[in-house]
Symmetry: C2
């Protein structure tokens, strides 16, 4: 009856060391979130499918994990099919003879009858839902952070998992650009604390909108954004080809490329103003970028910022500043965080006109970079145990247990090897494998003496001391 | 297009204060886990259904949340149906005419075609799976803790949720009863730190087994266990009725009740030895209980222990010590934790003969008791912010931002109110609602002076000081 167990594709176990490393990242991020006044929120893993569906585009809908309804979902589905065929009276004896074969079932149309819930796809939509449901008890501006796993039925590959963690900070109910500046400063602080060099790219969606107006191609705004978003991967020629296919003239395309290249100007914002400052949206976008720049200068040196007009961001709900963080070390150049301002996210749930802005840290990608670049602190250990008590027999075991209890009462993490059947060598093996720093072997001599032998397992040295000295050593 | 959002039944959002309260419990538990040498493990929310199915009994199988496969699961199901009907060649043009209507589908048999994954139902089975898959890299005895949500499609009611957290500590690969003693001491320490009075009930499954032998009803062992488990709810008469229906004689039933009542004896273990000490399993169980008692006495006072033979525990995999913790305050007497020794849990995954023992804390029930009994520390706050900077105009806002940045550089959590459009009164409202202790209003005077006015928002008093004094005050 035994089976060889395995894990669902794209999911992972995190053993003791990996959990400690992930906690190191999480605590670093959380400490910064708190220092800037953000408050924690947690939402359930499961959401109603109608909360999630249609919020992430067609591709997103396909990647949603759906949870099977309890009970006999097929019965309900069959009843629905019969009804759809005009047979409102559900006669169970007739029903099976209908031509409602499984082959004919449309997975999409049948979905509500077999699944009504789905797994959280990101933290932003659940946040918007929470704000809408609790608007009367929330103090605005509401600064919340949320660090939880999300699930996407994406094709697993290096750096892409089906269960992964996002760490989000959002401010909702405030239009001040100061929020953008503080969020960018928070990015800078977190990656500085993690000793991870990054580039923080900043742009403003209003400039992209102004650009479309400038070349008289407003109807192609989304296509232009999508094409620009691919620049890193396909280069200028690739972007030009896509834009040409979209129906833009070579003159329009040249103008777009000229705009993108302004990113390399000595003062990109001034250059963009020269080009787009006469257009209403362009004027607004430049104003916002200048204000942001002013605030950022106040927030002491942030060396990692780049105003970059090639940044477009995939999500459609951004309406102002957009930001993306790239690791700037080794081969791993992929995005490890991003965010932006959205003017109407809660509108989908019936609460319009509330502006918000937020950033997200991709825990798993940050982990992958730190691991690849060996940037984790070397002192991270799988356990907190300071000392292991070893012994030979029943009498010495009892003494070891009492001594260990004394240490624990002083708040010191300590262990007694549990099995009396294992020899001292095996007991010390356990300590060495778990990188426990000290061992104390209780023998005949120690039974009738207050002097204990404490062995440093890294240096091999051994010191005699009483329990009080031991507590002082380990505290 | 707007919709009124809601949450799936039995799930909850946790707003800022509730998250802080839950973290207070989690940190208390985790600190004790670490002090006793346990190491963290995290497993994915999703497991293969064949890992989960059949491990929790029939009822458990029904309560598993199943995740719909991606792609067109109906096509696969139809192909399977056709095959099952002897039509191995799948001719799409013929298929629809088969009598494979939805009504005829058996939800259970069709399951593998529409769902292959499920949500974690507890932390013990994923732990057993992890140990089996990683047996070659694990150092045994392996002491792991795991604090994660689990999901059950149970009927929601007070104290029972569909998403809830378990906090487990298990030692696997050690047969020493010292582990049981330390786990019980850990229960005692955690609830002591939470100031929550509890009773820790201890029994040993071997005694229940010996009891069945004693009354010559070994074939009724499970029925007897199940009946005893209900004693708290249905009383002695109820248990007697069930046992009579099972086919036990009134003499046998009287013996069982006599055994249960030994719990009230001055020395319950000695009393049980008198009764069951001649039976092999009884002798072993008594030996284990005595050893446990000896170890517990070494671990300094634990006042909350009760050797109680009416404790049976639902889960079938326990083979030795069993333990359950009940809140002992107010009306909330329900179980808030439990555990026991299992001799062969990894056997189901092909790794037999490894003994383990573990305990579990029910975070959500502990939360409910602490909340009902008002046992949370009063100083828990939704945020860490020590001071809010308020201002009147652009110039004073810039000064406020600089001052706030100085505090943050010293590690002090501080905020500047973001929106310049809001008057001072509104800004202070924000601080009051979030229970921020201090406010510093930057006006014309402060622009050209090093003296700042710091207002204690609880007392209303205001003190002049420079930034250095402010840092000292808030650090």
């Amino acid at each position: 009856m035994s089976q060889k167990p395995n894990l669902p594709q794209g999911t992972r176990d995190f053993g003791p060391l990996v959990v400690q490393q992930r906690k190191y990242i999480l605590h670093t991020i959380e400490a910064v979130f708190k220092k800037y006044g953000f408050m924690p929120l947690e939402t359930p893993a499961m959401e109603q499918l109608n909360t999630l569906s249609g919020k992430y585009g067609d591709e997103g809908d396909q990647l949603l994990y759906k949870i099977l309804n309890s009970g006999d979902y097929f019965k309900k589905l069959a009843a629905h099919q019969a009804q759809a065929m005009g047979h409102e009276e559900l006669d169970k004896t007739i029903l099976p003879s209908f031509d409602n074969s499984i082959e004919h079932l449309d997975a999409k149309k049948s979905l509500p009858f077999i699944a009504e819930k789905g797994l959280r796809y990101d933290l932003t939509v659940p946040f918007a839902r929470y704000v809408t449901m609790n608007r009367n008890s929330i103090t605005f501006p509401f600064k919340r952070y949320q660090m939880q796993p999300v699930w996407r039925a994406d094709k697993p590959q290096k750096g892409r998992y089906r269960e992964f963690w996002q760490c989000d900070a959002d401010i909702i109910g405030s239009e001040s650009i100061l929020n953008e500046a503080e969020l960018i400063k928070m990015y800078d602080e977190v990656f500085d604390k993690l000793s991870l060099p990054v580039i923080i790219k900043i742009n403003n969606r209003k400039l992209l909108s102004a650009l479309a107006t400038y070349i008289q191609a407003e109807e192609h705004f989304i296509a232009i954004t999508v094409a620009i978003d691919k620049l890193d991967k396909i280069g200028q020629q690739g972007v030009s080809d896509i834009l040409a296919q979209t129906g833009l003239s070579s003159e329009q395309i040249a103008t777009i490329l000229r705009f993108l290249n302004l990113s390399k100007a000595a003062d990109p914002i001034a250059a963009a103003e020269d080009m787009l400052g006469q257009i209403e949206e362009g004027k607004l976008g430049i104003l916002e970028l200048k204000k942001l720049q002013e605030y950022i200068q106040l927030l002491s040196p942030i060396n990692t910022i780049e105003y970059n007009f090639t940044l477009a961001r995939g999500l459609s709900y951004y309406t102002g500043a957009i930001v993306e963080v790239q690791a700037n070390i080794g081969n791993f150049k992929a995005s490890i965080g991003g965010g932006g301002r959205y003017d109407n996210l809660t509108g989908i749930f019936g609460m319009p006109g509330i502006s918000g802005v937020g950033i997200s840290f991709g825990l798993d990608r940050i982990y992958d970079v730190l691991e690849e670049q060996k940037l984790f602190p070397v002192n991270l250990r799988t356990n907190d145990t300071k000392i292991l008590f070893c012994y030979f027999d029943e009498a010495t075991q009892l003494k070891a247990i009492s001594l260990c209890a004394e240490l624990r009462n002083q708040g010191i993490a300590a262990e007694v090897f549990p099995d009396i059947t294992k020899k001292i060598g095996k007991q010390l093996d356990y300590a060495n494998k778990l990188e426990i720093g000290y061992a104390c072997i209780i023998g005949e001599t120690e039974l009738n003496s207050n002097t204990l032998q404490v062995k440093n397992l890294f240096s091999g040295e051994q010191y005699p001391m009483d329990i009080t000295s031991m507590i002082n050593l380990l505290q």
